[in-house]
């Protein structure tokens, strides 16, 4: 359909180094593919000056491409999405991490996939086809695959990557899902996709390569695993 517009929501917290790169890449791939877009930066009062960086980018690329919607302090991811949706002019919304683990080159593929099956949600997946990860050791892979396997058995969610957060949604679908979801952290992403199935929304998938944080540290400790199990049981009992 002509007239489709894609709003990319970028919630940021201390992403001063990554933000210019991710924005540059977004602009590049959207320009190349010719889709209409805007990038909504939702900075939660980063002390490292992410917002100043965003303002520079706004100046370079223009106010209709880079939309700044900062918030005072760090609030939940769900509320960041609601905050972003309120200002989104697109009829589709793309959510992704600003830490460069999600590459914008996949967005044109998401869009193509969406049009192909007229899907409500298109989810990036590390677990099928050419999808994969970079920077994970054996232990991390084992935990990830095991967690994914258990979730697939228990919830039969109809999507292969539940904890990933690189996805395209119809705007009204995202709005409905965010309002229905109560979990925190990456369990939130899991709840979003599981509830999407519960509500009967259609889900398409695109294999993605996930490059673990180039700048900064990412972790997977005992508390993350505990949170995952809690979230899994919650979804098991309620969806």
């Amino acid at each position: 359909m002509a007239g489709d517009k894609y709003s990319v929501l970028l919630p940021t917290y201390n992403e001063r180094e990554n933000l210019p790169i991710i924005v540059w890449l977004l602009v590049r791939y959207f320009t190349e593919s010719g889709y209409d877009y805007e990038i909504i930066v939702i900075d939660d009062g980063s002390p490292d000056g992410t917002l100043e960086v965003a303002k520079q980018l706004e100046k370079i690329y223009g106010k209709d491409r880079i939309v700044l919607r900062p918030r005072e302090k760090k609030l939940g991811l769900g509320t960041a999405y609601i905050h972003g949706i309120k200002h989104a002019k697109g009829n589709f919304v793309i959510i992704m991490d600003a830490d460069l683990s999600h590459h914008p080159k996949f967005i044109p593929e998401f869009i193509k996939k969406q049009k192909e099956g007229n899907y409500d949600v298109v989810s990036g997946t590390r677990y099928i086809g050419n999808g994969g990860v970079y920077g994970w050791d054996f232990k991390r892979k084992l935990i990830s695959r095991t967690a994914n396997y258990i979730t697939q058995i228990l919830l039969q969610p109809g999507a292969s990557d539940l904890t990933g957060s690189f996805r395209l949604y119809r705007k009204d679908v995202l709005e409905k899902l965010v309002k229905a979801c109560v979990s925190k952290g990456y369990v939130f992403q899991m709840e979003m996709i599981v509830r999407a199935r519960q509500f009967g929304f259609s889900i398409g998938e695109v294999p993605i390569s996930f490059v673990d944080r180039v700048y900064g540290e990412s972790k997977l400790g005992g508390s993350e695993i505990f949170m995952f199990l809690k979230g899994l049981l919650y979804l098991f009992a309620t969806t």
């Binding site: 999808g131 994969g132 990860v133 969806t239």
Partner: protein, 94 residues
């Protein structure tokens, strides 16, 4: 639709009822001694088969988990490219 937990409980309770009915002779079906033995141990066999299947699947998936080295190389190159281009547009890195 009812939650997955209850779907599981329903299937599980049906299975257990049938098993209990046979094992404790609530139904008038005659089994030979060796067949009966198999039925008594059936849940245990099922569990073992499922565990083996799970280990095999997870093992295979861990072993075939793609290492996206090229993706990382590409990104590194693009980061340099982006910095250069942004500088030329007046962006100030500090």
């Amino acid at each position: 639709m009812i939650p997955k937990l209850f779907q599981w409980l329903i299937v599980l309770s049906v299975f257990i009822s049938v098993w209990v009915a046979i094992v404790f002779d609530y139904v008038a079906v005659e089994f030979s001694k060796s067949n009966k033995q198999t039925i008594v141990l059936f849940p245990f066999y099922l569990l073992v088969v499922f565990a083996c299947y799970s280990l095999a699947v997870i093992g295979y998936r861990v072993a075939t988990f793609n290492d996206c080295k090229e993706a990382s190389e590409e990104l590194k190159k693009q980061i340099l490219e982006a910095k250069e281009d942004l500088k030329s547009r007046g962006f100030k890195f500090d």
